[in-house]
Symmetry: C2
Subunit: 208 residues, 2 copies
DNA sequence: GAAGATAGTAATTGATTACAATCTTTTAGA
DNA sequence: TCTAAAAGATTGTAATCAATTACTATCTTC
């Protein structure tokens, strides 16, 4: 007889890889992603260091898997909430909220993204990060363009600048939480921050 | 006889420390600050690795000097331009431009800042980064408050959110340049980005 | 319940790290 | 010009890194 396997050992390869990625995301929430060692990752999973290399050919491949996870998670959540509304402005707000919620749940994710983009050599993981952010910008740009077509958003808006500002807001909140040493401050500041953003892109109906 | 010493060797201690800090800033522009080694720093200065420890008791002290340099440079430049105008809105724009200009000249600086804030242990360098950013936020907050008093800036503005947005803009531009792999894109996007910011904080004179 | 396959362990590799001890060269001042 | 102090070179060390090895435990399936 044995109870449901809540233990940690002898997971099938696919599950083990998934658990490994989660462990990395967790560790990245606590320290600089660039200084995460394979020994630390293994320790977090109650595994020996060498066992990691049975599931990943090398450390770079592990980081690649991590980036793929972040990409799938973030873009997945975003596309999900965007689909729930027809209003581009509401979609942007939901998108922002979904992003902040994701980052609050996984503070390591944006740090990994940032650290990966800083790599000088063109690794696979870096390429994934770059295309991910391009997709992200596209989502924002599309919504802004739609809003301009509907007369909700200022037709003279600089879409590129507004996209940078959108991503910048998230980064700004991350930075603020790093200073405060507390992730939850993000959640409280998200709403007024988006209100500010909305003000900067909205059409002025009562302009002279 | 000897010409003016343009060579690299045998600098007086103070100058050597200054050159070392500059070398670190340069290296941080090219790779993740967390993975910069003392050997790399020494190589950049045409010096042996061991010689570094003649001028800094340990690596942490070196990072501390680097943070102090960044703090002095950034806050110095900002305070200089702020003092040139009485208009808080113009001051904010000059402050933003000065920051972007500084970051464009020293792309390693914001990376160092970000990397340092991510350190789990409370090092001296991290503390410097935190207080630096607090001072920065204070500058923005003061200018916003002044503008509100003068009726230029929306009296209902959420100052905290507007400060986060301000820092976020810089971060957003840094991120954009990381995706593009080109620092100069920042300079082109700075102006329209601030225009967007100004729109979100300005008083609406023709509000119903 | 053996057999083959899969997952994990423990020990070790060579490279790289921050840092230190000792020796040599350069500089500045009387 | 001589000398003491400062700056740098050389060599070395203990710790830590990613990765590999030879081996063992566990699961699955017939």
């Amino acid at each position: 007889m044995k109870t449901t396997n809540t233990t940690i050992k002898n997971l099938p390869a696919e599950q083990r890889r998934a658990v490994t990625v989660e462990a990395v995301i967790e560790l990245a929430a606590e320290k600089n992603p660039a200084s995460i060692t394979t020994a630390e990752i293994a320790e977090r999973m109650q595994l020996t260091q060498g066992a990691l290399f049975r599931h990943f050919p090398n450390k770079d491949a592990l980081w690649q898997s991590v980036m793929e996870w972040v990409t799938a998670q973030l873009l997945g959540r975003i596309d999900k909430v965007i689909a729930t509304t027809e209003s581009p402005l509401e979609a942007l707000e939901l998108m922002f909220a979904a992003h902040i919620d994701f980052v609050a749940k996984h503070p390591g994710a944006p740090r990994i993204m940032f650290a990966e983009l800083q790599r000088p050599d063109p690794t696979a993981a870096k390429a994934i990060a770059q295309t991910m952010l391009r997709h992200y910008s596209d989502r924002v740009g599309k919504l802004l363009a739609k809003g301009m077509g509907e007369g909700i958003i200022d037709p003279d808006l600089d879409v590129a600048a507004a996209s940078v500002m959108f991503i910048g807001m998230v980064q700004g909140l991350v930075m603020q939480s790093l200073i405060a040493g507390d992730i939850t401050v993000m959640l409280g500041n998200a709403k007024p921050l988006f209100a500010l953003y909305a003000r900067s892109i909205k059409q002025r109906t009562h302009e002279r």
